[in-house]
Amino acid sequence: MTTAPVSPRAKLRLGDRIFSTSTVTAGVIILVALAAVAVFLIAQSIPALVADPAELKGSPSSFWEFVAPLAFGTVWAAFLALLMALPISIGIALFISHYAPRRVAQSLGYIIDLLAAVPSVVFGLWGIKVLAPAVTPLYNWLVENFGWFPLFTPPVSGTGRTVLTVAIVLAVMIIPIITAVTREVFLQTPVLHEEAALALGATRWEMIQMAVLPFGRPGMISAAMLGLGRALGETMVVAMVLSPALVISFVLTSSTNSPTIAGNIALNFPEAHGVGVNALIATGLILFAITFVINSIARVVINRRKAFSGAN
């Protein structure tokens, strides 16, 4: 009879303990910080929710009346930006992944990433000093000829500081993130599928239609949502370019536009006092909740994709 073999137990060293504990702590700190964001924003929002709404800016009848134009403006501007950015980004991603010569493809990717590196305040300055004057003649023409169309109802803005201009700049700013994610997904397309399509005589576009786009659809959707999240939270461009008014308006070319949550905070926070500060923080909480939900959904979709594509 031999004694049962005793499996050697690793000696627990002090250094190992300290090190692994500190890494866990760091990870937990991140989760705590994220929870703290929600907790402190809620704590500071409560005074605005219980206060007399007449004390808020514009003396609305309730807090939600104060928020409505802001929430609408945020979603409207971000939606317009996404509408412009999505087709262009998918085009760029296809160009880099399937059209450009392989040798230059990576440097083309760097060029698009440069767009992401430009600080938002510089985009704001460019938007107001270069883009707004450049598009004003176009707006005049649009309103003159298509004024009957609800989106271009006169009067036209004389300065170009409209929601459409803001949306164009926002679109430029979210192109890099959408491009980066879709490009990754397109590159994951199984090469065998592509080659099979080409071998059957498909043109390059037919191959992309049959193999690349169906495979990349979930990725494109989540990329669009990530871009939407960026556009919703973008602050400086809106604060600098948009000429806001407390209205709900779909008109793209007028000088009275619905403000966005982020832009409104940046414009009013430095001078706000008392319950006004709490009201702005409460709008920030709403923005946080919206972007949090959108980003979570996008990440869930992307992660599921990852799990499946491992088989290829």
Binding site: D16, F19, S20, V24, A26, G27, V28, I30, A33, L34, A36, V37, F40, L41, A43, S89, G91, I92, F95, L108, I111, L114, L115, A117, V118, P119, S120, V121, V122, G124, L125, W126, K129, V130, L131, V172, T179, T203, R204, W205, E206, G229, G233, T235, M236, A239, M240, A262, A266, F269, P270, I281, G284, L287, F288, T291, F292, I294, N295, N303
Partner: protein, 362 residues
């Protein structure tokens, strides 16, 4: 082999290329379309209606090219090829459309920024300056201090978290951290600023609190997820054989990580950190809220308002004096400085990645 092929007359067309456009045709069409619109726009410019607008000319020229290539190919090669060519040109057009704002932006910032890109701009603050003169020294100082402090907070937390995720993390906690780090990358910067304000104004019970370190906290909230993601990727690249070799020699896990894993991936980690810094150094909104703005120097992160470069650009634009021009010139010079800083950081990051990356091959 057969005589038929050998003696085939050269004058007949190759069966493989008939009904196909020659290779130079798309390029010729593109050049033609651009030239047409450049001419049209210069005629309009000469007529004195508007300035010559090269961006619009190239843009409309590219659209014309898309139409031309479709029709020409449709006539010569047929519908399927035409659609293929159309999509090719549209995809290229998308790329060009994205380039137009980038080039225009860099060009404008360069042209307008050089007016005040001088010694005074980098050696003076805005204290007691009304109208011309003054500089952004206080803002540059503030940006360096705030971003530096943010880096000091973010790098240890971010790096340790990445180590946890790669070396230790299994199960629910690791999955939760991975997920929420991803979600955190999408937090709007202004929310980070609001959080820092809400937190510190409650802790210090000061409803109008403004100080530099608050800005650092807000920035690190934006920076940590970027550091975690990039470091995680880099740590994952370290081959497992290196770790196993170290364990086999009896080296404890923590020393293996410190002496083997991190030195192997240090180039990538540094690149990631540099890129993360370049991401947050241009953040305006959180600093506007929690760090405020001032015209004076402030070296103390823990007290009083502190100016930063992006906020300097914004306030110069938003609150000009009666004579707008000097304020705008300072704003553009600030924007140029910011872009130069960001580009240099990006360049450094790429150089580090290139020069110091471990030579794993033999």
């Amino acid at each position: 082999m057969s005589t038929a092929t050998a003696t085939a007359p050269d004058t007949t067309t190759n069966a493989l290329t008939t009904g196909r456009l020659p290779r130079w045709a798309p390029w010729a069409l593109l050049g033609f379309s651009w030239v047409v619109f450049v001419i049209v726009f210069s005629i309009i410019a000469m007529a004195g209606e508007t300035e010559f607008n090269i961006a619009a000319a190239l843009f409309l020229g590219t659209i014309l090219f898309d139409v031309l290539i479709f029709s020409v190919t449709y006539l010569v090669e047929g519908a399927r090829q035409a659609r293929d060519r159309l999509m090719t040109s549209l995809v290229a057009t998308a790329f060009i459309i994205a380039l137009i704002p980038l080039v225009s932006l860099l060009f404008t910032v360069l042209v307008n920024g050089t007016a005040r890109f001088d010694i005074a701009f980098f050696s003076q603050s805005m204290r007691n300056v009304v109208g011309e003169g003054g500089g952004a020294l206080h803002a540059i100082m503030g940006t360096l201090l705030i971003t530096g402090a943010a880096t000091l907070i973010s790098v240890p937390v971010g790096l340790l978290t990445a180590i946890y995720l790669v070396e230790y993390g299994r199960g629910k906690l690791a999955r939760a951290i991975t997920f929420f780090v991803d979600v955190m990358t999408g937090i709007p910067s202004i929310v980070a600023g609001l959080f820092a304000f809400a937190f510190f104004s409650l802790v210090f019970s000061d409803p109008g609190i403004r100080f530099g370190l608050g800005g650092s906290v807000a920035l690190s909230l934006l920076m940590i997820p970027v550091v975690v993601r990039s470091s995680e990727e880099m740590l994952k690249l370290v081959p497992n054989e290196l770790r196993e070799a170290s364990y086999a020699l009896g080296v404890p896990k923590w020393l293996t990580i410190l002496k083997i894993v991190i030195p192997t991936s240090i180039a990538g980690i540094t690149t990631g950190v540099t890129l993360a810094i370049s991401r947050v150094i241009g953040e305006t909104a959180p600093l506007l809220i929690i760090s405020g703005f001032t015209a004076s120097m402030n070296y103390n992160l823990f007290d009083e308002k502190m100016m930063s470069l992006p906020v300097f650009v914004y306030t110069q634009y938003a609150n000009p004096g009666s004579d707008i021009q000097p304020y705008l010139e300072r704003a553009w010079a600030g924007a140029l400085t910011l872009i130069v800083i960001v580009m240099v950081l990006n360049l450094i990051a790429r150089l580090i990645a290139k020069i110091f990356s471990p030579k794993l091959g033999r």
